[in-house]
Symmetry: C2
Subunit: 126 residues, 2 copies
Amino acid sequence: VTPRVRDIMNRQVISITEDEEIRVAAKRLLKDETNHLPVLDGSGALVGIITTYDVSKAVVTDGKLRQVKDIMTRNVIKTTPDEPVDVAAQKLEQNNISALPVVDATNRVVGILSAIDLGKLFGGRR
Amino acid sequence: VTPRVRDIMNRQVISITEDEEIRVAAKRLLKDETNHLPVLDGSGALVGIITTYDVSKAVVTDGKLRQVKDIMTRNVIKTTPDEPVDVAAQKLEQNNISALPVVDATNRVVGILSAIDLGKLFGGRR
Ligand SMILES: C[S@@+](CC[C@H](N)C(=O)[O-])C[C@H]1O[C@@H](n2cnc3c(N)ncnc32)[C@H](O)[C@@H]1O
Ligand SMILES: C[S@@+](CC[C@H](N)C(=O)[O-])C[C@H]1O[C@@H](n2cnc3c(N)ncnc32)[C@H](O)[C@@H]1O
């Protein structure tokens, strides 16, 4: 049976809003030991994604960039709980990205699938 | 047949030395569209790894951190070309990291295996 995204995704989602400072995003990424934060609007809909890669832009541009909306990606590549894992894995590889927000039928973020989670498919071979 | 790291690893390795400025590391990460840079010493041996996650620390600490050695991780989790992919994938997942430098028998970096590369295992299912 093909595993689905729901079998390996991370259901705890830490997010941020687009008007927050980049510094706040950096602190949240570091505290949660992750590289990705979905960006939600006031009503909880997904409007973008920000990663440590984007935060690195703030280091190169010397403080000209101030808020999440200045560096986030708006056109988000997503997945759903039912999507077969191999399809989701190919989305990551073909776009050179390392996480997909998992959304339900109403575009609410219900989890996040990181490329790291693909390691769960290989069981306890130890 | 179990695929090996050599079957999916990236053989082009962009690296950095530990005395470079963090700004230089950030520029190199962005230009190469990657989150990881192995840190090599003057003779080409692996002495650490720096990622966009580490660079984000520079955003939170306001310029007190200046060089790669101030933020890099020295105890690097590695892999080899012969390692079975499932063993490498579990190293990523169990340590919550998204890349493993690939080293040969003399500890020379010959490639890098990113969690994103695991997507190559799932073929052209489209
Ligand atoms: C193209 S990747 C390259 C760096 C690295 N390979 C990585 O995985 O982050 C970096 C860019 O991808 C964007 N990104 C990350 N996840 C994304 C997703 N699910 N959908 C759209 N863009 C995404 C980030 O906002 C960032 O600007
Ligand atoms: C623990 S991860 C957490 C963030 C995120 N999950 C990720 O994959 O980067 C971040 C830390 O892991 C370290 N790191 C990344 N790859 C590593 C590796 N192959 N060996 C040792 N440390 C590594 C980085 O230097 C960084 O300080």
